[in-house]
């Protein structure tokens, strides 16, 4: 009996998969046509992105001078390295400060903009513009604003407070935080607004009929429904935060204030010392973290599509 049932189940599954295949668009055209469409760009990405990275992976296990296999030696070295610890610690601190700050501000802005103000469209543009600004101009701006005799010091002078070369004080870290939030707020606002637009309106109507107030609506409908967006936005924000290192490096040059010594500076210093071994190991660890985050993100998206 059991066997027959199994066979029936199997047949059923086969039939189902067959019908799925038949419905699949363009399946009969063969798998190769699609493959040819994808191949050129995929090859490009492999040659200029993945192969270089595999090279980094290989070098992370080799000695810098000898070029012989040293196993995990490089990894052990960098974890004992004070510069690496400083950079990793600063990076972690940066994430811990930036991500909650950005998420909170962008959610607030999104909620305000979602109330259909007259100027919503205009304001959205204002928040998105920083995204389009080239790094080179940002660096220029920051130098001018936070120069010893720049705008910010001038403003303090106006209040009879002493000016400073802000990039060489512990404030440098906060300048970096500001520039991250400045650059990414618009993106997060747009994502939050997409999440808000996805909440069915009848939920609010029903709640209102039941006599729920504005705050109750917010706590019991808006926030729970935004949870999936929260996850996606968090992961995306963390991923984008790794890209702020470039700005950090360019603003402060090779010898930044200790508070903003991030992984990018470390990479650069090791690059100039030609310590490819240490650099590769640190890069692999950095990429590993990013890879994990991407997997998490994909999980979230697949979950959302279901």
């Amino acid at each position: 009996m059991k066997k027959r049932r199994n066979i029936r189940l199997l047949l059923h599954a086969k039939l189902q998969s067959f019908s799925k295949l038949k419905n699949f668009r363009g399946y009969k055209k063969g798998e190769w046509t699609g493959f040819y469409f994808v191949l050129p760009s995929f090859l490009g990405v492999i040659i200029f992105m993945l192969l270089p990275f595999c090279d980094v992976l290989r070098r992370s296990f080799l000695g810098a001078v000898s070029g012989t296999w040293v196993g995990l030696e490089n990894y052990r070295t960098i974890f004992d390295n004070t510069a690496f610890r400083l950079a990793a610690g600063n990076t972690l601190r940066f994430e811990m400060v930036c991500i909650p700050l950005l998420l909170l501000i962008s959610l607030l802005v999104a909620l305000v903009l979602d109330d259909k103000l007259k100027c919503t469209q205009l304001l959205k543009s204002c928040f998105l513009v920083p995204m389009a600004i080239p790094v080179a101009s940002i660096v220029l701006l920051w130098r001018a604003l936070f120069h010893e005799r720049g705008m910010f010091s001038g403003f303090l002078h106006f209040l009879n407070l002493p000016g400073e070369d802000w990039m060489n004080t512990p404030w440098a870290f906060w300048i970096l935080v500001f520039s991250y939030v400045w650059k990414n707020l618009g993106y997060d606002v747009v994502l939050w607004m997409a999440g808000l637009a996805g909440i069915p309106a009848n939920l609010y109507e029903a709640a209102q009929v039941d006599g729920a107030g504005k705050w109750q609506c917010f706590w019991h409908i808006t926030l729970p429904n935004l949870l999936p967006s929260l996850f996606t936005i968090t992961v995306l924000s963390i991923l984008n935060s790794f890209k702020v290192f470039r700005e950090a490096y360019l603003v402060a040059g090779n010898y930044p204030h200790e508070s903003m010594y991030l992984l990018q500076h470390l990479f650069n210093n090791w690059y100039r010392d030609l310590s490819m071994d240490k650099m590769s190991a640190a890069a692999v660890i950095n990429a590993g973290v990013i890879f994990l985050l991407v997997l998490l993100l994909k999980r979230a998206w697949d979950f959302g599509e279901r």
């Binding site: 109330d115 080179a136 609506c217 890069a283």
Partner: protein
């Protein structure tokens, strides 16, 4: 869209929120305002003890100074940005179409790889890319920055275009095929024209990516004759740090194309960003 009206009827609160949002927006736009306004000031005024919000003596001198410098770097920037745009469009539009329309073996792997490459910070691949380009003798040429920036924008465009191709009705293509159109013909005569808006958006994206790029052109190009505007401004900044109004004017000229493209295409860009794709 009337759901939120429920808990916001009083126009007073609306006005309050509006003011708050405008204040935040002002803080956000202030750095931009500052760079533009300073480019019209004299150098002595930029670093005056008390900063002025509006130039006392409005001058276009900085821009006149920059015009001579501009021709070479502007040409380089345009070559790199256009080259990267054309290359990434030629490669990524077919890829997105292939991934959306056909059952490609290992499609999930392709998508994952595109996703990961898009997330890797450029600092991680900078050194190995440098080694590759030096082996291929591509350093100090236009090709190095073009290839590297295109590699960044291709995954982005593929992920952005795919959902659009997925929702396109299949019937049109079928009809064309019955009339004897080849697969490539269908792609160029039917698919691309229909998806024109999204294709244009991705063209803008890749142009802005390449235009804004500093890290690649700085690392791969030491030849002054091939330097784009971004790395030129960076070297100016470190060379003669005193001529601030000239640099500011240069910075404004650099910002302009990106911001104009971004603002005119904003609607499409927002749609592209939320359709499951990610910023580069």
């Amino acid at each position: 869209m009337n759901k939120r009206k429920i808990h916001l009827k009083d126009s007073q609160k609306n006005a309050l929120f509006c003011v708050a949002a405008v204040v935040i927006a002002c803080v956000f736009l202030f750095p931009l305002y500052w760079i533009v306004i300073n480019s019209f000031k004299l150098d002595s005024e930029i670093f005056a003890n008390i900063p002025t919000l509006w130039p006392k003596s409005f001058t276009l001198k900085a821009y006149q100074d920059q015009l001579g410098n501009l021709s070479v770097t502007l040409k380089n920037s345009i070559i790199i940005a256009l080259g990267s745009m054309v290359l990434s469009l030629c490669l990524s539009v077919p890829a997105a179409y292939g991934l959306a329309r056909y059952r490609v073996k290992g499609m999930k792997l392709f998508v994952l790889v595109f996703l990961i490459t898009q997330m890797l910070p450029s600092s991680l691949v900078l050194t190995p890319l440098f080694l590759i380009f030096s082996k291929l003798n591509l350093l100090n040429s236009y090709l190095a920055p073009i290839l590297s920036t295109a590699t960044i924008s291709i995954p982005f465009i593929v992920l952005m275009l795919r959902p659009g191709f997925l929702t396109m009705p299949k019937e049109l293509e079928d009809a064309a095929k019955i009339d004897g159109c080849s697969t490539l013909g269908v792609f160029f005569r039917i698919v691309v024209p229909i998806c024109k808006p999204t294709v244009i958006t991705s063209a803008c994206f890749s142009f802005v990516f390449a235009w804004n790029d500093l890290a690649y052109s700085m690392t791969f190009n030491t030849n002054e004759a091939m330097r784009p505007m971004t790395s030129a401004i960076y070297t100016f900044m470190n060379q003669y740090g005193t001529k601030w109004n000239s640099i500011m004017a240069y910075g404004v000229l650099l910002i302009l194309p990106s911001v104009i493209i971004f603002l005119t295409m904003q609607k499409h860009i927002v749609a592209g960003m939320t359709s499951g794709s990610v910023k580069g």
